[in-house]
Symmetry: C2
Subunit: 346 residues, 2 copies
DNA sequence: TTGTAGGCGTTATCAT
DNA sequence: ATGATAACGCCTACAA
């Protein structure tokens, strides 16, 4: 009288559909998962029952029984950052084509939190994982290997790393930009970076700066360095500090466009002309790079392509159990208005 | 020899932990979910086994048995839009405090797709749902009611609507901004809106414009209207068309900041001074509003608060089964540099 | 082509 | 405080 004779409809199950269509649950299941193997006649009947009852499979039960969830997970540092938001959007659009759902978690740039999130997504049955950057504990990589969960490391490409990845060479990109800056005669540099700890992209970019400097016989120790968090205001404040410490600075390079936008804003409010008095460079080429004025000279990064590519790699890995080769995507200098010759050149 | 005597370890289950600790699976389950009810001694033993085996509960099984997933879903039009990305980030951070996972799906502003996504998230066991705007089919609302899934409609507040919501009055906000514009003497207006179909925020904003005009004895038919999609370039193009159609336009109001940024850019490239020759207004107050120059006069919208508030409302609804009152958050004009008196005033 | 039935890994209700 | 054991809803050999 409690369980069996329940009168209230509740949520329809396979059982209900089976009963309504006068077939077994197995047949209903097949209609849904392998329609070709069931006769036209019964299939029509079953599908009708499905429709009228408003049946939708219970995901948990499905996952439990089938041992696959058609769900991929993505862990990003933050979604509030346009570069990840755009990449995720593309990632998701690509997955959707294959009827795969995306689960997102954000780690707030905190390694412990990221580990937790990875485990959580795996526990939830994520069939594959998108990770940002390769900088994480061995334990967690082992964990993934052991569970046989395919993953790709995105937003970076580094020949020294063994994990399947899709991205660009952050170091090389910043190195080439720095070379361009030096070629323009700049010698008194400032550099604003995001927090580098636990962020291999920021580290690599810094490394690129350093290397380019060395090439020219200069030292990274001579650049006015500011490390700060990710916001326009932080960029502005950092710019201010740099100019205070080193008033004859001719160029301030920034680890990303957001910081650069802040720097640019501050320069303007300080009455400095960009790039006549001081040059500024960014990195990422997000929307704001184009609308500030003068528009930011920056590194163009193929965010959407990375998201899309990561999706297709994961789909392949998950489907075929293969291990595709890492993909390096191009990043290039986007010349716009904030980088000019050093005033010293005159 | 196949199932039982499997030698390869595989993923540890409750069973394995139970065996290792010499207790029943029930006890292990209790250790994890209600530690207080099991004796100190056995608990320690069990937790040890958990640790050494690296056990993590299987989410699907858990959900299937417990009929709750600790997962909330969010369906947004797109994550590539800063306003949603920021709101989601806040939403997720708040959920995390209560150990709830967020599932995101994006509908690309397509109603049918949104319905699909809602059903998908529900099928995946979402305990509650965050929806954007109240504009959707009755069917889907009925579906949610029937399943007893709590949901809140965010980004809007409209007394005429019955669903639990958190947001601000889009119409009123645009109305007040329009009043301010008219007070400054502007009479030749242009308006750039995002696609209004299926987007009640865009509709409401347009309505606010229209109403404010009527109040002053003016007609919406006299404003040069451009409807376009969401991008900086679209805003720029629309601005161009407006000035072609109506060269004596003194102000171009925009349905959001992205379009306004485009308009501003185009104005500059057309050699127009803002706001001396032409004024521009935005809506949303996202990052870019502050960094363009002159900075955008716009409507400040509490994105993060909406995300956070939506989370806490949903948590309450899901926990207590209550139905909280809708919350209206304040939105106000953020006066900056792009809105000035009409040149006609001189 | 279709049905039967055993599992999937937990939770929760009873006893004990 | 702990242990059996029946759900939970679906998938999938295997049998018919």
């Amino acid at each position: 009288m409690r369980k069996q004779d329940e009168q209230i409809p509740g949520v329809p199950t396979l059982q209900d559909v089976a009963k309504a269509a006068g077939v077994s649950t197995a047949t209903v299941s097949r209609c849904l998962n392998a329609p070709s193997v069931v006769s036209e006649k019964t299939r029509v009947r079953v599908m009708e029952a499905v429709k009228t009852l408003g049946y939708a499979p219970n995901f948990s039960a499905q996952a439990l029984a089938a041992k696959r969830t058609n769900t991929f997970g993505a862990i990003v540092p933050t979604m509030a950052n346009a570069i990840f938001a755009r990449g995720l959007q593309a990632f998701q659009e690509e997955l959707q084509k294959s009827n795969i759902t995306m689960l997102v978690a954000s780690s707030s740039y905190r390694p412990e939190l990221e580990e937790e999130q990875i485990r959580a997504l795996v526990a939830r049955g994520a069939d594959a994982l998108l990770l940002i950057g390769h900088d994480r504990s061995d334990d967690i990589y082992k964990f993934l290997e052991r569970r046989g969960i395919p993953y790709v490391v995105a937003w970076v490409h580094d020949d020294g790393q063994s994990h399947v990845s899709i991205g660009f060479d952050n170091k090389l990109a910043m190195q080439s930009l720095t070379r361009a800056v030096l070629d323009l005669g700049h010698r008194r540099l400032g550099y604003i970076t995001a927090q580098r700890i636990g962020n291999d992209r920021a580290q690599a970019r810094y490394g690129g700066l350093s290397d380019a400097l060395s090439e020219s016989g200069l030292s990274i120790d001579d650049v006015a360095l500011e490390e700060t968090d990710y916001s326009i205001k932080s960029g502005a404040d950092a710019f201010d500090r740099i100019l205070k410490r080193q008033p004859d600075t001719t160029v301030v390079m920034c680890g990303n466009d957001v910081l650069a936008a802040g720097a640019l804003q501050k320069a303007r409010s300080l009455g400095l002309q960009v790039p006549k008095d001081v040059s500024i460079t960014g990195f990422d080429d997000i929307d704001i790079a184009e609308i500030v004025s003068p528009a930011l000279t920056t590194i163009h990064v193929p965010h959407r392509n990375m998201g899309r590519g990561a999706a297709s790699m994961l789909i392949e890995m998950s489907r075929d159990g293969t291990r595709p080769k890492s993909r390096e995507l191009p990043a290039h200098i986007e010349w716009r208005g904030t980088l000019g010759p050093s005033p010293d050149q005159m």
